[in-house]
Symmetry: C2
Subunit: 131 residues, 2 copies
DNA sequence: CGACTAACCCACTATGTCAATAGGTTTTTA
DNA sequence: TAAAAACCTATTGACATAGTGGGTTAGTCG
C-alpha cells in the first residue's frame, strides 16, 4: 500500500503544476483545493523541498513552486522520496541488508522481477502524464 | 512492502511442495528447515488451512499437506489470503470505499493501471514456478 | 488404555509506523 | 511594523506487525 504521504505528495505536485502562474503558491491554497490538512501538508512539502523537487519561499508572497517542468519529474522519484523505497522486500530495499539464505532463496528471483516491474512503471510515468 | 506473513506463507507452501512424499509434514520440520519460529508459522498455517490452500491433520503422524498440485496455486492467491489485498490504494482495495473525489481524481487511472500490473504479475506466477 | 505428537485456540505484548495535530519561530514583503 | 508564509520541534492516538506463551483437542501407536 502506498501511504497517504506518497499520495498526497503527488497531489501537491500536481496542484502546483496545474496552478502554476510563475509565482509561489501558498500551502493554504493547496490544502483548500485538495481538501487536505494544511498542517500535514507542511511536513510533506518540507520533504519535497529537502529532496529538491520543490522550491519553498518564506514570507508574504511566498509558498512553493516546481524546480523543473512537469515533464521532468517521474512519479517514481516522488514516491521514493516519500516512501523511502518502492521495493517489495527488505533484502532488495536495503543495500546493506545481509541475508544468509540469499544463495538458496527460491523467492528472490520473483521479488527481483517484481521490483523491476514496479520500478519501471513508476519511473516511466511522468508528472505531466497526470495533468 | 510485502509482510513477513505473506513471504513466510510462500516459503511454507514451497517447503511442503518440495518435501512432499504423500504424508503430512509437521510444522516442526518446516520451521527447522526454513529457520522460522514454529509458533509464528502456526498462525500462518492456520490461515492457509482456513483459506483452503493447505490441509491440516492433528495427532501423531499429522501435519500439513497441499490441497492441490503446485501448478494449481498462484502466488497471487497466497499473498491475497495473507495480506488481505494487493491493491496499492484503499479506493481500489475496498469495494465499499466511497471517495467523493473519484470523478475528478487525476491519479486514479494510474493506480488502476498499476493495480492491474501487480494483480496480473502475481496471478500469472504459479507456486510450481518457484520450485 | 496411556503416552506421545501435532494441530488448534486464545490471549497478550513489544515495537514501530502512520497520520496527523499543536504551538511556536523565522523569514520576507508591502 | 504588521501580516503572511514557510520552517521547526514535539507529541499523540490509533493501528498493524511480528511475534510469544500457555493451554486444549485430536489422532496414533504400543
Amino acid at each position: 500500500m502506498i501511504s497517504t504521504k506518497g499520495r498526497y505528495a503527488i497531489r501537491v505536485m500536481l496542484d502546483i503544476a496545474q496552478n502554476d502562474d510563475g509565482s509561489y503558491i501558498p500551502l493554504k491554497d493547496i490544502a483548500e483545493r485538495q481538501d487536505l490538512s494544511k498542517k500535514y501538508l507542511e511536513i510533506i512539502a518540507k520533504e519535497l523541498v529537502a529532496g529538491g523537487l520543490l522550491i519553498g519561499a518564506s514570507g508574504k508572497g511566498g509558498g512553493y513552486r516546481l524546480s523543473r517542468d512537469p515533464d521532468k519529474y517521474t512519479i517514481g522519484e516522488i514516491l521514493e522520496l516519500m516512501e523511502g523505497t518502492l521495493s517489495p522486500v527488505i533484502c532488495l530495499a536495503d543495500k546493506k541488508y545481509k541475508c544468509n539464505r540469499k544463495k538458496k532463496c527460491n523467492t528472490l528471483p520473483m521479488w527481483q522481477e517484481f521490483d523491476k516491474l514496479v520500478h519501471d512503471f513508476f519511473h516511466n510515468k511522468k508528472l505531466s502524464d497526470l495533468l
